[in-house]
Amino acid sequence: MINLIYMFVFSLVYLLLLALTAGILTYVERRIAGRMQSRIGPNRVGIQGILQFIADLIKGVQKEDIIPADAYAFLFKIAPYLVFMGVFLTLVPIPFGAYTLMEDLDVGIYYVLAMASYVVIGLMIGGWASNNKWSLLGGMRSAAQKISYEIPAALGVFIVVIMSGSMNFQKIVAAQGASPVDWFVFRNPFTFIAFNLFFIASLAEGNRVPFDIPEAESELVSGYNTEYSGMRFLFFFLAEWGNLVVIGALVTCMFFGGGSFWYEWKISIPAPGRDPIVFEVLGFLWFLFKTFFFVFVIIWIRWTLPRLRIDQLMDICWKYMVPIGLISSLGIVIWMYFIPENSTIDRIVRLTLTSLGAITVLYFKYRVYKNLKITKATIYANPFV
């Protein structure tokens, strides 16, 4: 009984924390978007507008919960909760630290993939039950898109599973190390491909630009959530931003070493003389840093790129990503058979890939500075002053 209460309290805290993170992310996204678009963004509620999401929440709760006359009321009502649940259940097996996790599932990856597709049901129900043709189109689009992109995502995950030999997130993290050379993303070319496959497919599954066709504002008005108002509408959005955290956390776990913080990751009790709590906190913060870096990248992509058309979207999935994923899955098996870990070739490849990654980042920075120089950075200033 005590155990049950403990579980209940713990999951409630977890849920609240994650809802809070999602809420803050809405604020963060709006501020970043404002910065990119030469405007300020919300800055009125609280210090620099940090409490904006609470104001939005209160507003959302106060709004009338409109259910269209011809809508299928029951399904219409539960659809946002299904979406919300689907996203938040995904977080259960993700290790934010050695101990900071809900449940150490041995089939963690299976579980995550299953829960991610569970969201589709909510979106389709929402689109269909609204009794609005635009919503229906949005729901159908989202179903087609999510089911298609499950496959490249799963193939990307598959490569990680082969590399680490486990579906347990703890073990996947343990298979990597603290330094970039040990991260899966820079291990060998195939894991690098796997990272790209998984990241792109996650964007598509999370309905983010450039794959946001289910809610394409300029085409489908607002897609599956057109008819929603008040808190139900906010639930869709909470799910969307919660999903950002999920994508960031998954990518961090599987490809970027999780919370490994320059000490040997041990699932058992750490060696004596080390304070486990300090390491736990540091690891947790390191994990959060990486997660939010990817969240930032996703936001950045959203405010930069246009949207694909649905046939182009499907082309990218079926003509490019799925074949590449299948070939890489085969490639990783051959690679692992012929090139044992920590052999000379393995080390050279790791180092090369890591330095290539570093060079890409540096080159990008250089290009940004060059372009700022070309435009004389007056772009951001008033020409009349």
């Binding site: 189109l137 504002e217 008005v221 405010w303 790129l305 246009p306 949207r307």
Partner: protein
């Protein structure tokens, strides 16, 4: 507006079969640029047939003209195309002046041209920005709007108002400019060329953006002429028809500028990308024209003596000028007795563009419908008047 009966008679009546849905796009749909309505018959994502419905923004401007003396109709021409108000002022003024034989001082003509060219840049910024918005890229739109703000500031110095300027008078313009206007305009133009470079790096060279526009909504030159297209839409189809060159008014014959013509840079001549790129090029040409004007403009009077009561000789005449959305024609019929026109007919580019929709939408996807319609740069008040 289309009633059910009209719809029956206008669309060839094939009963909607099971896989077809009738969907109402507009009049308040995010990407119909005001209040324009299409009725789309969709088979999945593909449009089987479509009806364009105009008339939601009809303000009887032509009828109002019949009850007003000629000078009093000037503010109404602002409302024909609120995005490019001075171009409409200019078109009307030129039509009446040529009939009444009024003289215009040199400086007034230069000022009119400055207003018209600034407005052309303004209008094209809205066009390319809205196109970007409709294919899903939010940031370029905001950047375009930001630059437009600077133009509106300039127009405020020039005319006293930011929009609906009511700047042109018969035989002159309403006010002279302060001396620092030219310096500010010079500064803005330097800045604007740099801005277009950045805009192109952000949007025009974007792979997704290109994919969305190339080979979408192809109009051959003959087809475009058949739909009585004019302006940038016609030039994008490879017909070098620019009234500033062919039938010069003001001092356009003295100006050195090239007429950008669509050549299918990336895809086929006359696709949506050509319509986009022609507008980008035209903004640069307008910059050139503005620079020439400012080097040539001299001090002088801005208003000639005109009779208190303007009575046009009996008869009718048609005067055309190049507005940002194509040929803007004023067909004025006068009975020779009153100081009011017997009839004014305004010919606008957007209305011609609307005629092509039912034909071109066939076989497109919903996303293409939006992209094609945005590439035509239709503004609702100009369609209905």
């Amino acid at each position: 507006m289309i009633t059910e009966n009209d719809l029956q008679s206008r669309v060839e009546i094939t009963p909607i079969n099971g896989s077809e849905i009738e969907i109402n796009m507009g009049p308040h749909h995010p990407s119909t640029h005001g209040v324009i309505r299409f009725i789309l018959f969709l088979d999945g994502e593909i449009v089987v047939r479509a009806v364009a419905d105009v008339g939601y923004l009809h303000r009887s401007i032509e009828k109002i003209a019949e009850n007003l003396p000629y000078p009093m109709f000037m503010p109404y021409t602002d409302r024909v195309d609120y995005v490019a108000a001075i171009n409409c002022n200019l078109g009307y003024a030129l039509a009446v002046e040529s009939l009444a034989g009024l003289e215009v001082p040199e400086r007034a003509t230069w000022l009119r041209m400055i207003g018209a060219e600034l407005n052309r840049i303004n209008s094209h910024l809205i066009a390319v920005g809205a196109l970007a918005m409709d294919v899903g890229a939010t940031t370029p739109f905001v950047h375009a709007i930001r630059e437009r703000e600077y133009i509106l500031d300039l127009l405020e110095i020039l005319t006293g108002t930011r929009m609906n300027n009511n700047y042109v008078r018969f035989g002159g313009v309403c006010q002279d400019v302060p001396e620092d206007f030219f310096k500010k305009t010079e500064k803005f133009l330097d800045h604007f060329v740099l801005f277009l470079g950045e805009f192109n790096r952000l949007l025009t060279t974007n792979k997704i953006f290109l994919e969305r526009l190339i080979n979408v909504g192809i109009l051959t030159g003959d087809q475009a002429l058949g739909f009585s297209f004019s302006g940038p839409n016609l030039r994008a189809s490879g017909v070098g028809h620019d009234l500033r060159r062919i039938d010069p008014y003001c001092f356009y014959s003295d100006m050195e500028f090239s007429v950008p013509v669509g050549s299918g840079v990336k895809g086929t001549t006359g696709d949506s990308f050509d319509r986009f790129i022609v507008r980008i090029d035209e903004m640069l040409e307008s910059v050139k024209i503005l620079r020439q004007i400012m080097s040539k403009i001299k001090e002088g009077p801005i208003q000639s003596k005109i009779p208190r009561k303007i009575v046009l000789p009996a008869g009718e005449s048609y005067h055309r000028s190049e507005a940002p959305r194509g040929e803007l024609g004023f067909h004025i019929v006068s009975d020779g007795k009153s100081n009011m026109p017997y009839r004014i007919k305004i010919r606008t580019g957007s209305f011609a563009a609307m005629t092509s929709l039912s034909e071109l939408f066939k076989g497109m996807m919903v996303a293409d419908v939006v992209a094609y319609f945005a590439s035509l740069d239709v503004v609702a008040p100009e369609v209905d008047r």
